[in-house]
């Protein structure tokens, strides 16, 4: 009996081990440039093209200190924070409100609005970037936080995810609240939104990461160095510091640090959010 069970178990283990090995190799290949960037940022300038050891012989934080002291990195951080927090709050709040309205309220044009949102989902934002630039320039919002934020609020996927979740709630929750005398606002803020708190946090984290990492629109909208976000600012580091790889890579690490931290802290929520949006994208 034991033997007949042992054979398939061994075969399965072998397959799983091979798969694990392959995954590890792929992960090493993927992670090596990131690792190399981090260790290079910890080397002295003259060592970056001489020291090829996996662990730096004389690690230093000099590049980081230099970047922080000699660039606008703190201001870029502040700009990124303002833009990302603003975009996150507005996208999630407006997505939840719109999702609730389309899912739960009866008003003229509800279906038309839903189809418009679905249709807008099919137009890539980069295809509209010239129009965005012209509009934002016309209303004199270039080089302002609001100018960077406004076009980034177009996030139909958030509305779709919320609508799906609100549609999926048993109608008895709504009816019980209505019988208790709830208004639509109370229903939204006190029943529907808190009941979907997991979705809200997941969407907030993924929106924050997306806003922090966004490059093309902030690059166009913020030409003034004092209004740049971190992702845009670090491209200026190269010009500022010439070919000082250590400093450039230290800037890149600093730019990616908040997002990496957010990801590590909220890994499960991010995965949940990606699954949700992936489900929508089909």
């Amino acid at each position: 009996m034991n033997n007949t069970h042992a054979t398939p178990a061994r075969r399965f283990d072998l397959g799983a081990t091979l798969l694990t090995l392959l995954t590890i190799i792929a992960a090493v290949i993927w992670f090596f440039p990131v690792y190399w960037g981090i260790v290079t940022s910890l080397r002295y300038d003259d060592q970056t093209v001489k020291d090829f050891a996996l662990i730096p012989m004389e690690p230093t934080l000099k590049n980081y200190i230099f970047d922080i002291q000699n660039s606008n990195l703190p201001i870029w951080y502040l700009n990124s924070t303002i833009v990302s927090v603003g975009v996150t709050f507005l996208v999630v709040f407006m997505g939840a409100c719109t999702g609730f309205a389309i899912s739960q309220l009866n008003f003229p044009g509800r279906k038309a609005l839903w189809w418009m949102i679905l249709a807008s989902f099919m137009v890539p934002v980069s295809a509209l970037i010239v129009n965005h630039f012209i509009i934002i320039a016309d209303i004199k919002l270039l080089n302002t936080h609001l100018g960077i934020i406004l076009p980034m609020l177009i996030a139909p996927v958030t509305v779709i995810v919320y609508k799906q979740f609100f549609d999926g709630l048993p109608k008895e929750f709504r009816e019980a609240a209505v019988m208790d005398g709830s208004t639509e606002f109370q229903l939204f803020f006190r029943v529907f939104l808190p009941m979907n708190w997991g979705v809200t946090t997941a969407l907030a984290i993924i929106t924050f990461i997306g806003a922090w990492n966004s490059f093309l629109w902030p690059f166009l909208a913020a030409q003034d160095e004092m209004m740049m976000t971190v992702t845009v600012g670090i491209t200026a580091v190269q010009d500022t510091f010439g070919v000082a790889y250590g400093r450039v890579l230290a800037g890149a690490v600093l730019a990616g640090l908040p997002v990496a931290t957010a990801y590590l802290l909220f890994q499960r929520r991010v995965t949940q959010a990606i699954t949700l949006s992936a489900g929508i994208k089909g």
Binding site: P170, E172, F173, E175, A176, A177, V178, M179, D180, G181, S182, Q186, R190, V191, P194, M195, W197
Partner: protein, 358 residues
């Protein structure tokens, strides 16, 4: 306290008429069960009384008020839902006082109300828990507490026990009966379980395809069903139905069942012999030796429940369920005869209506 009066109530979803010109009066303080199979319109009717479903036609009065077009929260009714509809993000206390919280009542008043209701329903140790941490029966009690705290004139229950297991359902039935006795409020209770309706209600309304088939006291419906539908729906195990022919004579109703004939108490005089259907409850059929009785058959299944035994007998008219003495030992395959309590045999006309005894 208030009565519920429905007059000419109708509900249409497009071309489909779910409730058809329904009239019903539920007396103040009574416990009325709306009973019927799935899709008969009982839940729709309850939701119309609650205000969750609009009325296509007719009028709803609660007490002396016409509430046909009044908002649900202002009708003086509270509803307990089948799936309880407890908010998972709120504690038991917050769920119970949700309506007070929406109305902006002071926290101290809410806490006092939560404690009072929890005491009535033995929920005191659970006030700080969330619904996910409660058992089915406890959730049910919280849902009832949420209705209680509103101090409504009328309680509406939409199949509140259907998600519970048999044991818990029995316990909750007792608790509901006690609650009704304590509060003395009007209660309207939707169920498809005739045992719940029979044990809890003082009035049962049997619905069929959006119309009232019969309304009355539970035992009246059991002993004198108005038609075949009610006869088949009320009673567990269900009534046996046998095709026969009947004619009136001076002695009463002459019934021919296969080769056998029997005389039943007189019904309305039949002008000529015609096909009818006999209805006999399992407890009104008796087992006889093979060759004796009105009908012959062979035992198919014996269900010994301890306190009673049900014997399913295959006959030329289909299977007949007999409630017999639990001491009787019978094996499947045995030949038996069947006789009927003639006074308890129901006779249904071809259209399903009962031929009442004179």
């Amino acid at each position: 306290m208030a009565s519920v009066e429905l007059t000419g109530l109708a509900k249409r979803f497009g071309a489909v008429e779910v409730i058809r010109g329904l009239d019903l009066s539920v007396a103040d303080g009574s416990f009325c069960a709306l009973l019927g199979p799935s899709g008969c319109g009982k839940s729709t009717m309850l939701r119309m009384v609650a205000g969750l479903e609009s009325v296509s036609e007719g009028q709803i009065r609660i007490g002396d008020r016409d509430v046909t077009h009044v908002e649900p929260a202002k009708r003086g009714v509270a509803m307990v839902f089948q799936n309880y509809a407890l908010y998972p993000h709120l504690t038991v206390a917050q769920n119970i006082t949700f309506s007070m919280s929406l109305a902006g009542e002071p926290k101290a008043k809410q806490a006092e109300a939560a404690t009072r209701v929890a005491k009535m329903l033995q929920l005191e140790p659970l006030l700080a828990r969330r619904p996910a941490e409660l058992s089915g029966g406890q959730r049910q009690r919280v849902a009832i507490g949420r209705a209680l705290v509103r101090n409504p004139q009328v309680f509406l229950f939409d199949e509140p026990l259907s998600n519970l297991d048999a044991l818990l359902r029995g316990q909750m039935r007792l608790e509901l009966a006690r609650l009704h006795a304590d509060l003395g409020r009007t209660m309207v209770y939707v169920t498809h379980d005739q045992v719940e309706a029979m044990t809890l209600a003082d009035k049962i309304v049997v619905l069929d395809k959006g119309k009232i088939s019969q309304a009355g006291a539970p035992l009246d419906l059991y002993n004198a069903p108005a038609n075949r539908f009610v006869a088949g729906f009320i009673g567990s195990p269900a009534m046996n139905f046998l095709p026969a022919r009947a004619n009136s004579d001076a002695n009463g109703l002459q019934v021919t069942l296969g080769a056998a004939t029997m005389t039943l108490p007189a019904r309305a005089t039949l002008a000529a012999e015609r096909p009818v259907e006999l209805g006999v409850r399992p407890e009104d059929v008796h087992l006889q030796n093979a060759g004796d009785g009105t009908l012959q058959g062979r035992v198919a299944v014996v269900e010994a429940l301890g306190n009673t035994t049900f014997v399913h007998v295959d006959t030329e008219f289909g299977q007949v369920n007999v409630e017999s003495d639990p001491a009787l030992r019978l094996e499947a395959g045995a030949n038996v005869g069947l006789s009927f309590e003639k006074n308890k045999v129901h006779v249904f006309d071809a259209d399903g209506t009962t031929l009442p005894k004179l």
